[in-house]
Symmetry: C2
Subunit: 560 residues, 2 copies
């Protein structure tokens, strides 16, 4: 049985575009001699369509596009994720089985995730039946994403139905290392059902999320025999070993599909070959590149711009942007103030030169003086404080936004997770922009990614002086991040424990972290929720990112 | 049977504070001779606690506070909303029945709303049992909020159990006119169960939400016999007619509570008296005042500031702020540019004078020139456009934020729903601030509220010239809103149809709205999602507000 897994990059809401991608993959799979082609969860609508699902017109339009798709699909059977109208205004997260221009059956997702970034119970009702296809006599069980993650869920029921192959349509968002959990799940499931496994995941960036692909196939012993690369589109075609002696009847109402006639000249594109999972740093790097590229492309931007400060965060963002879009679509802007040291200014220039990107220089001193003049009366008798620091950041934000308005550029912000956690950033200042690509990247990982980038390119594109200089916001004389924040290795441990794992403060202290530092940091994290609420979206790479993954009230008197 | 409904203003996360409020209401109810006192849904934690519920320590702390509360509650039986740990890391949205220092029973909410602003399936598992208390021989059925809104839900089961009284603990967020739906529901339910009804709602502002109170009691014929005012705390004490002949046994395991000894000297605070629901404009007005006051107070701000432009939006926001906080806690800032007409400047002064608030004047011309100078080289050969308009708005945003930083003031933004829908606002400019109190108020309602405010105070506090002048952003010469936007009465109809009701474009056109205008407006709405994502929170007053009520992807190629 030759199965094609179409790991496509569907765009949310783009029903005509997604239909075209689906049809082209069906054609490719046909050429490769596949017996069945599987598409990801909600491939037709893109994932997650969010509140588009509350628009009756969107549901109707999706149904019309599915029908039109079916009419163009001739002999090769397909399973396509879409949204399906159920009884009494309900919706199913559905998989349509299509063959010979007809929708021959439907599977409705049974387990609806409603945690982390997922809101599926907001939109869908669960299905309550398994579906086994008869594919030329073989029994093929269908599941969608979460169905295979639930203990004592649909998989356990399938196990009793003795399928030959179990298929999963997924839209499984990336976080670091998640692919290993998927493989473990696949193995467990293959062994439980004594069936081969074919897992087809979406790929591509969608606002805060990146879908990393990594579709795969396993034998019934749970051995990985083929896997698609992460972070790119792929059509994975694989010959799955099925025991022909095991053929048995499916339910009389089950969709019955024909196997294609064997053609020895047709070779699978990829078979008995697996691509080893990436190392964490490279995986994160690829996720950030794809997430950036897709946000920019899908939203129709040509060029991006960012403030290049001479620090490591903006250096990494510039590097990632060039990797995602090419050097001609990235503009760096340096906005020196009297507090900008000649070293950081030179480093910005070196960084832009090394990347081969355009560098604009917009000094802020005169505008800053203008602001101080406008405020001098109001501020009389007051000493300079954080106000004047923030003003500089806000002038830079306004300058970048002026470039954005004038030239249609998307502004990338450069704040990392350590800063955004603690509120060590200026709202409407360095947080001003459309996309915050490293907002879920802790500072310690910013360093690792920067070193990885240089290694990948075989030279010091990010200058060593940027990597080794103690971090500074340069908003006053001799300022260093570590005047205000704990050392980043300690800070990032606290963020992991408190933000990502919701661990109690007492437990963090018991684990050996300094009590005073933990309590101060947790206070900073809690107190800066209002800033995060107004921050641009960025790419989730950890098990818990800021954004829809973490929904904390601003008005909140709980003091842990 | 004398029931006390404690319509309290609980603060999210404030376990000690909420405990104190609860105890003080128990004492008051005791003095009033109540037999039972009811608190709102999740009264102990505040509503909605959102992802605080994912913190195991928060759950433990809540349990400890409930236990401590119980120890201090002696003879008067209470029903208190709280969060309860269930089996295997699950949580219940629970109502504890407390008497004589003991928790005598628990009801677990059965219907968990997961639509609109609600995410309850993210946190809770549903209960699966009804609970009837035996209160001195009377049968009292418990429900929590959504339980009474579901057709063929718990209420229908209660109907078969023949209760004497049905109680509902609610945290029902306000939108205009919702109280009528609650009354209709109460009547339907009273008649169905042939039981009296006691509905206790939360009151107070919490980020985007306002809980409007309006707790009430009904006879078994569905007649309203007592109601608490909306938008303020209240202890509603009411003698409910119950047929003493109808006493019957409850389930042997049901909590059994004693009635208090009748004391003719103890009078209910409010009985056989109902407060008529407010008219829509007044209701919205009160919601905005309470939402503003609570956001400011609960987040610990002393003073608020806002940019007073001479237009009607900022005039209304100033008026609402003064109503919420008093004139000494509101600072107006006028930031004239060369495009500011002498009329609007004078109107700002008149407005501040009429309210008796401090007015600061910070001209922006010099800062604007500074920016133009900094950008002159980059912008060479380009004609002025929206960039220069936005720059002025961003200078104003930065000036307000400088005042915020220097003096600790909260900045109120002044954008209305019509502007925020269409993106007719400058990100980091007029959207810069902590709280956007009229962001869910359509422009046509801004006018009605302004007239209402003047009527309420018996004089033209908001000058007639502000109300009658055609709206303008004054960011270029002779600019009028209606150069860019359709007339507001038409615009607001489109927003209601497309945003609040998710009606298809074709239906809006068929209803008689101009096709070109509808299509242009819908495009503007869809294209400005990225701005809304970075906008400050504001108060929900319609059936669908921006924020967690409407979750639309930014990357979205659906074109309706």
């Amino acid at each position: 049985m030759r199965i094609a897994l179409a790991q496509i990059n569907a765009v949310v809401g783009d029903l005509p575009g997604n239909s075209r991608i689906i049809l082209s993959r069906v054609d490719q799979a046909k050429v490769a001699g596949a017996d069945l082609v599987i598409f990801p969860e909600l491939a037709l609508t893109g994932y997650p369509p969010e509140d588009l699902l509350l628009k009756p017109q969107f549901i109707k339009d999706t149904a019309a596009h599915l029908k039109a798709l079916a009419r163009q699909i001739t002999d090769l059977p397909c399973v396509i994720g879409h949204v399906e109208q159920g009884p009494r205004q309900t919706l199913f997260n559905s998989a349509a089985v299509i063959e010979n221009r007809r929708i021959k059956g439907s599977y409705h997702k049974r387990c609806l995730p409603n945690y982390s970034v997922f809101d599926e119970k907001r939109y869908f009702v669960p299905g309550n039946e398994n579906l086994i296809l008869d594919l030329g006599g073989y029994r093929v069980g269908l599941t969608i994403c979460e169905d295979i993650w639930e203990e004592k869920g649909p998989v356990d029921e399938y196990a009793r139905l003795k399928p030959d192959l179990l298929v999963n349509l997924s839209a499984s968002p990336y976080f670091v290392g998640k692919i290993h959990a998927r493989h473990r799940m696949g193995t467990r499931w293959a062994r439980l059902c004594r069936a081969s496994v074919a897992y087809c995941n979406l790929v591509g960036g969608q606002d805060e999320l990146v879908f990393d692909g990594g579709s795969f196939a396993m034998t019934s012993s749970g051995r990985l025999i083929a896997s698609a690369p992460q972070f790119e589109e792929n059509l994975l075609v694989v010959d799955l070993p099925v025991q022909s002696g095991r053929k048995s009847r499916t339910h009389p109402k089950a969709p019955t599909l024909r196997l294609s006639k064997p053609n020895p000249r047709l070779k699978p594109q990829l078979n008995s070959r697996t691509i080893g999972p990436l190392k964490p740093v490279e995986e994160i790097y690829r996720a950030l590149v794809l997430g950036t590229r897709d946000y920019v492309q899908k939203n129709g931007f040509g060029t991006v711009a960012l403030g290049l400060s001479g620090g490591i965060d903006s250096a990494l963002v510039a590097a990632l942007a060039v990797e995602a879009l090419g050097k001609d679509r990235v503009v760096a802007v340096t906005m020196p103030s009297p507090y900008t040291s000649s070293e950081t200014f030179k480093d910005s220039q070196a960084m832009a030169d090394n990347l081969g990107i355009r560098l604009m220089t917009l000094p802020i001193e005169n505008v800053f003086k203008g602001f101080l003049g406008a405020l001098s009366e109001s501020f009389e008798g007051r000493t300079p404080d954080i106000t004047e620091e923030n003003l500089q950041a806000r002038i830079r934000g306004a300058l970048l936004m002026a470039l954005s308005n004038k030239f249609g550029w998307l502004i990338l912000t450069t704040g990392n997770k350590s800063e955004i956690s603690t509120g060590y950033c200026t709202l409407y200042g360095d947080t001003a922009g459309g996309f915050a690509i490293i907002k879920d990247v802790p500072k310690t990982m910013v360093y690792q990614l920067s070193l990885f980038f240089n290694t990948l390119h075989g030279r010091e594109i990010i200058p060593a002086s940027i990597i080794t200089r103690p971090p500074t916001a340069e908003l006053k004389l001799n300022q260093k991040d570590q005047d205000t924040l704990p050392p980043y290795d300690l800070l990032d441990k606290i963020i992991k424990g408190y933000v990502e794992e919701d661990r109690p403060v007492s437990e963090l202290i018991r684990s050996g972290l300094d009590e005073t530092v933990v309590r101060q940091t947790v206070r900073m994290i809690d107190a800066s929720e209002y800033k995060r609420r107004q921050a641009p979206p960025g790419i989730k790479i950890t098990s818990k990112a800021f954004g829809k993954d973490r929904r904390v009230p601003i008005t909140n008197l709980y003091r842990p």
